[in-house]
């Protein structure tokens, strides 16, 4: 196989990595917003998890246990 010059490898590497989104720390305004917090409503989250594990039977997870009856 013919040797591939280093510059071509560098170009390939740059192309491969250019698709990665890189949000700089000073650009995180929207990510830091309250609405982006997954646990912004603890009661709502626990209710949603309860419904989830009840419907999905044993596959629930997220710190809850049970067999799917929704009675605990």
């Amino acid at each position: 196989m013919k040797r591939i010059p280093l510059i071509l490898l560098a170009a390939m590497a740059m192309t491969l990595t250019s698709g990665c989104a890189n949000v700089k720390p000073w650009q995180r305004e929207h990510l830091a917003d309250y609405t982006m917090q997954p646990d912004r409503d603890p009661l709502g989250t626990s209710q949603a998890e309860h419904i989830w594990f009840s419907r999905e039977e044993a596959s629930g997870g997220s710190g809850v246990g049970g067999g799917g009856c929704g009675c605990n």
Partner: protein
């Protein structure tokens, strides 16, 4: 694709990543770029030469930044003219910075990097990040984030060591 070629590609990618990050960020021992060239909004102090300068990069949406402001203000009052606290805001909109400052009034200098050119040059790893510069404008200490009283004590200890 053979293994040797794959190794070369991975190696080059890693090398490019390491060099691009290592060359950009301002670190201890580096000199702060000339602030006058970045068209910052707000009035810069007349001179920073010969003074201990704390350059703090902050944003209105950053909660630790809000916690750090009373401490920065305390430092400015404690050290007076011997130390310059220079807070560089990186908000995209000036109104957000002004609203923040109305809620957290301070006595130290605040400027805004509206074009985000200075912050892109300095590349702080987190918000807030502060650099403590000696009288020659070189970074002597670097703080990533703000950790309450622990950071406050470090600031005082480091500034005192530079003032000796």
């Amino acid at each position: 694709m053979n293994t040797s070629l794959l190794k070369k590609i991975i190696f080059t990618t890693l090398l490019a990543g390491i060099f691009s990050s290592a060359l950009a960020a301002l670190k201890v021992g580096d000199a702060l770029p000339d602030l006058a060239t970045f068209k910052l909004e707000g009035k810069l102090p007349d001179t920073l030469k010969g003074k201990i300068v704390v350059v703090d990069f902050w944003a209105s949406w950053c909660l630790p930044c809000a916690e750090s402001f009373p401490v920065m203000d305390e430092l400015q009052k404690k050290y007076g003219g011997r130390v310059v606290i220079l807070a560089v805001n990186v908000d995209e909109k000036a109104a957000k910075m002004e609203k923040f400052l109305a809620k957290h009034p301070v006595t130290f200098t605040v400027v805004r990097d509206a074009q985000q050119k200075l912050v892109a040059t300095v590349e702080p790893e987190t918000m807030p990040t502060s650099f403590i510069l000696d009288g020659e404008g070189k970074v002597r200490f670097l703080h990533k984030g703000f950790h309450g009283d622990e950071t406050r004590k470090q600031y005082i200890s480091e500034i005192d060591s530079l003032l000796k």
